[in-house]
């Protein structure tokens, strides 16, 4: 059985007499025990998808199921099966302690008090915040607070967990710690649906990535395949102490490209240019270099990143998205 199954999901909103298509017939599924990342610019439909899965929003048409339960018809069972981390600073009660917050949410999940006490103890130890259990949430750092939020999402031992921007606003160390925790959660066999603005995070964590833009899924695959199948120019840099103008001209003719020359900090010349296709470029360069008696110190070929995939599919850089969001 698929942990999450979405078929032909459509959601439209009306704003100031204008119809906005938030989700335009999207379909995808997630296998149990996998981490699946949903990437997209602001307004692409990520949050709408998550809200529908979390039973906070009703779709106009189509179907979404969590562990076989329909999010519209069996919303109560869906909420029992699901642990959710939504974005925002205030998803806990700041005037309550860590333990009081977790106890409160245990009650909202209808957990048996005896089980709940044990579960809270277990999660506090697992996420190494047991020593802060009696601290008011308002006194915790953002990183620790986010760990408590994760504990809360795991209280009912859910099979599926939705993490919407879980590392947003965290410092690099706290982010790394949280990513490790997410990996541990996956190792327990949980299915995780993740949205993030950090491409390296999606690359590091995900088994599958879907890129959503203007309410449509534009690409879906493993991070490795997405990068491998990307048809973009790759930058190649060659460093040598004895470049000749003939060699550079030869390179220009062979690869039909502009060659940029630069002297690095050690006074060594560096040339760089873009390749349309990777193919046998390296062997060609080595061959040309040996014909011109060039001693190559270093050749570096840049591989595409998930961010390159994202830009290619959505036409936007994440930096632009951040600015437009502000």
């Amino acid at each position: 059985m698929k942990a999450i199954e979405i078929n032909n999901l459509v959601k439209r909103f009306v704003s100031k007499n204008e119809k906005i298509v938030a989700l335009d017939d999207i379909s995808f599924s997630i296998d149990e025990g996998k981490i699946f990342s949903l990437l997209g610019p602001n307004g692409a439909g990520k949050t709408t998808t998550i809200k529908i899965l979390a039973t906070l929003l009703l779709p106009d048409s189509g179907q979404a199921k969590i562990c076989g339960y329909d999010v519209v018809k069996n919303d109560l069972l869906v909420r029992k099966t699901l642990g959710t981390v939504l974005p925002g600073e205030r998803t806990l009660f700041w005037k309550l302690t860590v333990k009081e917050n977790l106890a409160y949410f245990s009650d909202l999940y209808g957990l048996n008090p005896k089980y709940s006490r044990k579960r809270i103890e277990y999660l506090l130890n697992k996420f190494e915040i047991n020593d802060r259990k009696d601290t008011y949430v308002e006194k915790l750092s953002t990183g620790l607070r986010q760990r408590v939020v994760l504990c809360r999402a795991l209280l009912s031992d859910p099979r599926v967990i939705i993490l919407d921007e879980p590392t947003l606003g965290l410092d690099p160390e706290a982010s790394r710690n949280l990513r490790n925790i997410i990996k541990e959660i996956k190792d327990e066999g949980k299915t995780i649906l993740l949205t993030t603005h950090y491409m390296y995070e999606a690359d590091e964590l995900s088994d599958m990535v879907a890129i959503i833009n203007k309410g449509k899924i534009v690409s879906i695959d493993t991070p490795v395949n997405l990068k491998k199948n990307l048809d973009i120019e790759r930058n190649i840099t060659i460093t040598s102490r004895n470049f000749t103008s003939n060699f550079i001209e030869n390179i220009r003719q062979e690869f039909f490209t502009e060659v940029k020359k630069e002297i690095n900090e050690d006074g060594i010349l560096k040339i760089s240019f873009y390749l349309k296709k990777k193919d046998d470029a390296l062997s060609k360069i080595i061959k040309i270099a040996s014909e011109h008696d060039i001693i190559v110190d270093n050749i570096a070929l840049s591989e595409p990143t998930l961010e390159d995939v994202f830009i290619n599919k959505t036409g936007k850089k994440f930096a632009e998205i951040e600015v437009s969001a502000k």
Partner: protein, 278 residues
């Protein structure tokens, strides 16, 4: 059965959470202890002023209200109104502030019925706001400003009987808050209208006849009359049995209707995506 269990578990947990949170603000004792004693004095002095230097206004007041004990009349009206007011609005206002700070959607992802958060807030309002009423009534009885002749059991029965109406009112107000995202305007408008119509700070005898008829059809007016007659005149439940039946009947209808309204609103809110604070 399981649904009812989780409803009450979530409601009591919400009430406990609200009470703990309030008690952690160091100024809580002002609203619970100091304010209930000081505030009613404004009404006592106002009443003394209106009574005239030789209390010539009292006869007129007695004609309109049925008692010469204007201090008890006004203090009890205000204390009771404050108590009911908090229950009527608090849960809806909390719902709105939860949405504003962005925690409401997190709460709504839990499998407990969403009405439980509003009901829980109502329980915490009852618990928190009951003590100032008791303190205030006890204090003014001690200093002989209120003549307390009531049977406490009768007062409890009256208060329990008005709760379905008040909580039903709260559910409807909460539904409105969810739909409109704006609550203050409704609070101000309805509060003023009810305080005039229900004779909380004035005898309804001063109202035009057609308003008096409307006034007597509102359970809060009848509840107010029961409380005043019980405390000031020492009248027992048997004097007000018809009022009690009316309060309970209207309360039950309002309560059931409010649950339906909330459920429909919940669906509408989920359809339009109005829940989110982010």
């Amino acid at each position: 059965m399981k649904k009812i269990k989780i409803f009450f578990q979530a409601s009591f947990a919400t009430a406990k959470k609200d009470i703990i949170s309030i008690l952690r603000y160091k100024t809580w004792f002002i609203s619970v202890l100091v304010w209930p004693i000081l505030m009613p004095y404004t009404f006592v002095f106002l009443a003394k002023g209106l009574a005239g230097p030789t209390n010539e206004g009292i006869d007129n007041f007695a004609r309109l209200s049925g008692t010469t004990d204007y201090s008890s009349f006004i203090i009890l009206g205000n204390l009771t109104w404050m108590f009911l007011n908090m229950i009527m609005w608090d849960g809806g206002l909390k719902l709105n502030s939860s949405r504003r700070i962005g925690i409401l959607d997190t709460l709504w992802t839990a499998p407990s019925p969403r009405l439980a958060y509003v009901f829980g807030s109502a329980i915490s309002s009852i618990v928190i706001n009951f003590s100032p009423i008791v303190i205030s009534t006890a204090f003014f009885s001690m200093v002989k400003i209120i003549s307390f002749k009531a049977n406490i059991f009768d007062l409890l029965i009256y208060t329990l009987s008005i709760l379905p109406f008040i909580i039903g009112f709260l559910f409807i107000f909460s539904s409105l808050t969810l739909r409109s995202k704006e609550a203050n305007l409704v609070v101000h408008a309805v509060r003023v209208i009810l305080s005039i119509l229900c004779g909380l700070q004035l005898p309804i005898g001063v109202l035009p006849l057609f308003l008096q008829k409307i006034s007597l059809s509102i359970p809060i007016t009848l509840y107010m009359n029961c409380i005043r007659d019980s405390i000031i005149k020492g009248q027992g439940i048997s004097y007000h049995i018809n009022s009690l039946i009316y309060i309970l009947t209207i309360g039950f209808i309002t309560f059931i209707a409010s649950i339906v309204v909330f459920k429909l609103t919940e669906k509408k809110v989920k359809n339009k995506g109005l829940i989110s604070g982010y």
